[in-house]
């Protein structure tokens, strides 16, 4: 067991854990969108999980830092909050959804993050960024909503883990990046209707199984 100090409280955890996982398992919340605890190499793309660790001159992402004995961590310093709020505002500048119409039961991860960071769901002071993508994209078994997607990469990862083929992937690049689907395979050959791992893990409701598919999934489990 390893002991570390988080926000002046001592917590215990196992060797090999990331600081983020150790905190989450000890009831200390750190905002995160792209973290999957079984994932060997963290994706580290959402940039929400910043903490300050003694010995580093600036905040670091807690999902990429391994725990060490005696580590002193702070999750709520002004530099940490500054970066987290900016990361959140940046995400919201491409994510026009509103809490009232959120398709995720109980509200998506972004709503919870906003509450935790005590910021609104708007991108202010940033402007909303227009993107040349469709509102809805047909991915055979799913409807993909690019404007909801925060590109956390979780769906791509779980798909690769659960299926031999990597059906989901990042498509385009830079600001135009979206989730793509190798849709030219005969749908009947695809494991999607029994899997649904991606839609389940998506933190923002950007991948919604088509209703007929859900029914099918229910009727032959």
């Amino acid at each position: 067991m390893i002991k570390l100090i988080v926000d002046e409280k001592e917590i215990e955890t196992e060797e090999g854990r990331s600081v983020l996982q150790a905190c989450l398992e000890n009831g200390i919340f750190i905002p995160n969108l792209c973290f999957i605890k079984t994932r060997q190499q963290p994706h580290a793309s959402c940039r929400l999980c910043f903490v300050e660790i003694e010995g580093f001159d600036r905040p670091v992402t807690s999902c990429t830092e391994k725990v060490r004995e005696g580590l002193v961590v702070r999750t709520d310093t002004p530099p940490v909050r500054r970066l987290q709020r900016m990361a959140f505002k940046l995400l919201m500048s491409g994510h026009p959804c509103e809490a009232k119409v959120c398709p995720v039961k109980g509200g998506c991860q972004l709503i919870r993050t906003a509450k935790y960071l005590k910021v609104g769901l708007n991108p202010k002071p940033l402007e909303f960024l227009e993107r040349e993508v469709e509102e809805e994209v047909d991915l055979t078994f799913f409807t993909y909503y690019p404007f909801r997607c925060v590109l956390c990469g979780k769906c791509v990862y779980v798909c690769r883990e659960k299926n031999e083929h990597n059906l989901l992937t990042f498509a385009q690049r830079g600001f135009d990046t979206v989730i793509g689907f190798f849709g030219d395979i005969d749908p009947t050959d695809l494991p999607c209707h029994t899997c649904l791992a991606c839609a389940t893990i998506c933190p923002t409701g950007a991948l919604i199984p088509k209703p007929e598919l859900t029914r099918e999934a229910k009727s032959n489990p």
Binding site: S45, P125, F175
Partner: protein, 646 residues
Amino acid sequence: MSEQKAKKRFAPIQSESKHRMEEQKRESIPTIFLVMSTCGLASGAAETKQAFEEALSEKSIAARIVPVGCIGHCYAEPLVIIDHPTAGFPPICYYQINADRARILVRSYLEGGDPVLKYVLGAMEENDLIPAVMDFPRFSLEQRLVMEHCGLIDPDDIHQYIARGGYSGLVKALDSDPEEVINLIEESGLRGRGGAGFPSGRKWRIARTAEGDGKFVICNGDEGDPGAYMDRTILESNPHQLLEGLAICAHAVGANQSIVYVRAEYPLAVKAIQKAIKSAKELSLLGPSILGTSFSLEVSVFQGSGAFVCGEETALIQSIEGKRGMPQHRPPFPVEKGLWGRPTVVNNVKTLSAVPPIMVRGAEWFRTIGTERSPGTAIFSVVGNVKHPGLVEIAMGTSLRTLIFDVCGGIPNKKEFKAVQIGGPSGGCLPASFLDTPIDFDSLTQAGAMMGSGGMVVMDEDSCMVDVSRYFLDFTQKESCGKCTFCRMGTKHLLNILQRITKGEGRDGDLELLETLSKDIKDGSLCGLGKTAPNPVLTSLKYFREEYEAHINEKRCPALKCRALTAFYIDLEKCARGCEVCVGCCPVDAIFTTKGRKKAIDQELCVKCGECRVACPPEYDAVFKVSPPELAPVIERPPEDIKEKK
């Protein structure tokens, strides 16, 4: 380790190479060295070559044409060196030799013995007849060790490199203990030339001690900076020095596999390196049991897709593995866990090319060049508003002033120096007050710029710093891989704000937002691209803030660059009655005749191309450019003229 085994095996190869060189000298027929690298070809070297060949055969003159790589004097391309041993002159360097001039040179010099002084850049050796190029600042202030042989040898002929001492560094390394080699590189203080300046010796030591077999060495030749072409030039002009460095590195760290990563847009470089690998293998300088020792090294070439971010080492490795070129969080660093999970040294082309001379001449010698903390030389491709753009290799510690004004000839057209952007698109813009900054890793970083991989853009008084920032952000924003939030979304916001400002739509709070956003992107991004992308914005905001303010508060572009903030007008006092010169050159028919039979510009139609200003005869010089546009006097188009137009 067998005593001097490699040296013994190498001796006959070396004498063969030297013999070939002497044979050629003995023939005493003229040799024409022609720069045939990408830069030379772009300025017409292929036509020049053909003209030489035709002229020589027409006149039945025996001469040898040797295609060589680039010597870095881009302003002088196509560049030709003629060694005419029986003419009584030393080898002479000629500049801008197009096909016509090639024929003249054959007729006058090779046939007639007259060296045609008006095309001469200088002599390649000290002599009493023609000033030697070594005495020109462009040559004398340069110090070449990485590019020592570039432009002087045929890259396709391995013997030319060997005859000049090539591969003896590898031989020495093969006969030494790898540990000693690493000590030597550590003592030399060599730092990575790929941008960050990480000590190479330390990197190699980590790789050597890292657990796991199947180690790799990768030469990073991605070179994605716009306007930078140092690595391409080295690959094209002397690929063997790089391969030699690569082999020394692999031997030192215990790797038997290596990859040269070159962007696919560099077809000539790819060909040159492939050819070089083949000829090195034939002489047992690469491949299995090199020179009879127990050390084997496979070398392959990987052609990258040419995305800027693929130059980042973790993205580069992903791309070799066939994955999307997205950077990964470090640690683990590639030296611990790199290609296919194996310890991997990633070094830049220039870093590896610096190794052979260190191996031969020693760490001590290397440290006499450059500064205490940045020994050796720096290679820059200097472009923009300088008289002599091109590739230069100078000792670290040389001041920016010396580089720009002495080596590169200063600013042309009697303009003032305004700023220099160092370190590529993610470097910084430094003003005149920084001209005495020494060029080394730490001083440049301290000034807010960085060494980067050697891109340098010099700007004169006509450059608008807001527009320059916008240009660089446009590049980095497009090159962001899109993985992490700060870089993907943040650079787009920066670009949008800068675009607004250059269009005159800047508003209160923009500068503050640019600043906070820039700082957060630097601190929050995952990889070096995002961490450095805001540098041009931050430095120009720091050193040229008043220029941003003029754009926002007065809708004025002080450099008269931003189209939306400028206007052209014709001064009626100066305009010559009846002159029509400008009318025809306007692409949108915006110029009309006033009641007084002079000319005026319809501001509604004008697209601000500036053609009229160019066309207006100098004796009238009646067209003016102003900012803000309201400064242009309003001259109504006569109503009948409007009707006519319709």
